[in-house]
Symmetry: C2
Subunit: 329 residues, 2 copies
């Protein structure tokens, strides 16, 4: 059981933790290749462990059945591989140079290798998903793969659009982030043969959780702690990506101040300008507003869990919602 | 019936030509999206018509049954979309600026858009393949998707390796080019419910045809006609990709001449150095050798057709082999 004071990922993952090393094994098995260059890149990328959030959600989805089937471990691995493919491609798009404290594939090798190895991971993930022979898993995955891309293309299209609405922002984050997290829960639940309404409830939980997760992530781009590796405050905005805090701010500002903010952002965010902007976000309560929206989504997510009797897994999914809101870096 | 004197793609495609506009319709239907940016890119890319070789082979594969099923048209479209995704990603990798006489996606937009739209096409192609619900089509496609990537990664790894062997070169081109062409025939044949041995024969035809196709393409990089748009002689070599003519040449040269050629290539291929190299390739018969290899592959391909009774489709597949060998630009 997870107490509020024990909101660590380790504690939250406890009910499925013993399976995560098996997920890792499956990842390397699915990606096994005699191609030395691919093998090196795979070793490098998966050598740095991520949070394994997608495998964890897959396994949690499966954990509401009588037992977690082996196939759920395999599918969890495939979903992490798919996610990794999108990260490798995202790092090309963002010209990112650090991921998980290691050089990105586009930096350690080059963007050619990153494009191809991303494609390779993508194909291998899909192959493993198909092997599951589970219609719901396959259909769920294919639907979300298109959506993730679509969300990212929409985000690219809306870059530097200072009139982007909350609605468009929510569409983007639902597609690019929430849909895959929801699909993980859905796939796990389907593999454990849960009844349709429970699968649907977990899927909705995943969407709401994912929305909150991304909103908090976007807030941390303004309010987080700048650190040595990778994390630079205002990075999204510097890249032209407008997220909820700024969208909220621009909705509250008068035209003149808004025009001033835009011109500041356009001419590049130095430390002084960023400090000015952060003060403005603070003054107008824009980050609090975004956190409140995130909280609303976690509340909706929690409600979806009410169809499940009390269990360690249910407690973990509840705790995960608190954990997301409590993230500060 | 196709006569040797009528070796044009139009004549060769005659038995399946009426279905190609339907393939085009299906491409746009599969890729239909409310996302304006994606729609623009799709319109641009598919606005310039390619040779539609993959759809044609899919339909030829299907044409050996009693009738070409509608599903073959759909799968033909999906295979062309998959191929297009790899072209869009290849153009990022090669920093290419022209494809089919139009600016590439990475040039007209940028490489971010090219990465994501490539991924989007990839996902949509896979979705359409899966909808076919044909096990053989799905398995064939998934196998080849991984191989195409693998072949391209291997090519990347072998860049600037002046000791690359013919064997490795053949592995690369079989994976990156021949496997998809073979899969097109296989998918078409499977959808027409041909017996397993005929599907296998068409698949082998596709591999041999694909090998010949790529070898000739690689020869044309040295022996073709330089033209205004896109085609620059020696482009592969300038990018560090060693193909059959040069591999053959280096196998024949003494160590000193070989070292000289390498140093010339490494310091950049100007017009004079390229002319020197072309003279050497000529002198040692390296391009003739490569063409002879291509002819060997077409002969093997032709043999595979012997299990089929005479028909317009069989004649076309035979003519396609002659056509490939006769390509001069």
């Amino acid at each position: 059981m997870v107490l509020k004071t024990d909101l660590t990922i380790q504690n939250i993952y406890a009910p499925i933790e013993s399976l995560l090393p098996k997920v890792e094994e499956q990842i390397f098995e699915i990606l096994e290749t005699p191609n030395e260059l691919s093998a090196e890149v795979i070793q490098h990328f998966f050598g740095a462990k991520g949070k394994f959030l997608r495998p964890a959600l897959t396994l949690f989805g499966a954990s509401f059945g009588s037992a977690i089937p082996d196939l759920a471990v395999r599918v969890a691995a495939a979903l992490e591989i798919f996610h990794s493919a999108t990260l490798i491609h995202d790092d090309i798009i963002d010209s990112a140079y650090i991921r998980r404290n290691l050089p990105t594939v586009n930096v350690k090798w080059n963007s050619q290798v990153a494009v191809l190895v991303g494609d390779y991971l993508h194909d291998k993930a899909i192959g493993a998903i198909f092997e599951s022979k589970n219609e719901r898993v396959i259909a769920g995955f294919l639907g979300t793969a298109g959506l993730v891309c679509d969300g990212e293309i929409l985000e690219l299209k809306e870059k530097n659009n200072f009139s982007i609405t909350e609605e468009v922002y929510f569409t983007i984050i639902e597609r690019k982030t929430a849909s895959l997290l929801a699909t993980c829960l859905e796939c796990g639940a389907a593999l454990s043969n849960l009844p349709a309404e429970k699968i649907a409830a977990l899927k909705r939980y995943g969407i709401y959780f994912g929305m909150a997760f991304q909103i908090v992530d976007d807030c941390l781009d303004f309010s987080g702690i700048q650190n040595e590796f990778g994390k630079t405050l205002g990075a999204d905005l510097a890249a032209g990506v407008l997220t909820l805090p700024l969208i909220r701010l621009t909705a509250l500002l008068d035209e003149r101040t808004k025009a001033h903010v835009f011109s500041q952002v356009k001419s590049g965010l130095g430390q002084t300008r960023l400090s000015d902007l952060l003060r403005l976000l603070e003054e107008y309560g824009a980050i609090d507003y975004a956190f409140a929206k995130a909280r609303e989504f976690t509340e909706k997510a929690a409600l979806e869990l009410s169809v499940f009797p009390a269990s360690a897994s249910r407690l973990s999914l509840e705790a995960l919602l608190e954990y997301v809101l409590s993230r500060r870096r």
